[in-house]
Assembly symmetry: C2
Homo-oligomer: 157 residues x 2
């Protein structure tokens, strides 16, 4: 069983970091398009994408946003966090096969209201900056070790 | 065939709006979790979610972000847009079965660099504000009518 561990407010310090990595697959692009309805062909149609400045299908920009939110929800502060806000600037496209690493760094803690500010950066396997921004979350009050949700199997045909 | 029509820079005016709606299904939650890796059980585990202040599984906050990006990529300005930045404040959770409507409003146009600023709001079926923020996109230079990408069938078991 996959366990998620959170970092409640009393375990957080300014400068603390966490990372989260995922490689973008064609399957991820299809699933993101399906659950959002974003069927822009630059993500889904190789022939069309070849006619764009990207030359090949690219991931949805907000897929990187989804990775940032996954890093917050599963790593830092982790389960029990309440997402208050997120800003993101998109710097570079993500192509299928790119390994994206999100790095979160605690930049401010307002203890009284448990509000934690995180600097968020996403880089690809070449160290190129994909996206950066700032998140605000209400940190959990209590320590938790939690079973991760279990996903059913998903078949694409 | 589903056609996407864009609004190039010369068709955009301040105050112009577009909307995009989607109802959150359990399937969407599973697909978003799968493509992002965000397996926080508050989204996936009914028993665990019942112990949280939400009382039932909620959608990923960034799923609403994905809808905002889908609205931009498919409606306003639509295909050919380049996503530069997005801010979002999360105001209210989305539950399975909630119908979320994103409204985009053009708030600023910098013609020389084709940079368009959009106010973004998402409301649920009761008119409750789910999330709001601001997007910056480079608008397309040319009018396009484009075939939407076609998704393969996805089976969850």
């Amino acid at each position: 069983m996959n366990l998620l561990e959170n970092h409640p407010i009393n375990e957080l310090v300014v400068g603390q970091t966490a990372t989260y990595s995922k490689t973008l697959t064609e399957r991820d692009v299809i699933l993101f398009a399906a659950c959002s309805g974003d069927v822009n062909p630059v993500h889904l149609d190789k022939e069309y994408a070849a006619t764009t400045p990207f030359g090949e299908p690219i991931g949805h920009g907000m897929w990187t946003g989804a990775l940032v939110s996954a890093a917050i929800a599963t790593r830092l502060p982790g389960p029990g966090s309440v997402y208050r806000s997120q800003s993101l600037s998109f710097k570079h496209p993500v192509k299928i096969g790119d390994a994206v690493t999100v790095t979160l760094t605690v930049s401010e803690i307002r203890e009284r209201v448990k509000l934690v500010t995180l600097d968020c950066e996403a880089h690809n396997q070449d160290g190129k900056l994909i996206a950066k921004g700032v998140a605000e979350v209400i940190a959990p009050a209590e320590k938790q070790h939690l079973a991760a949700g279990v996903l059913p199997s998903i078949a694409i045909s």
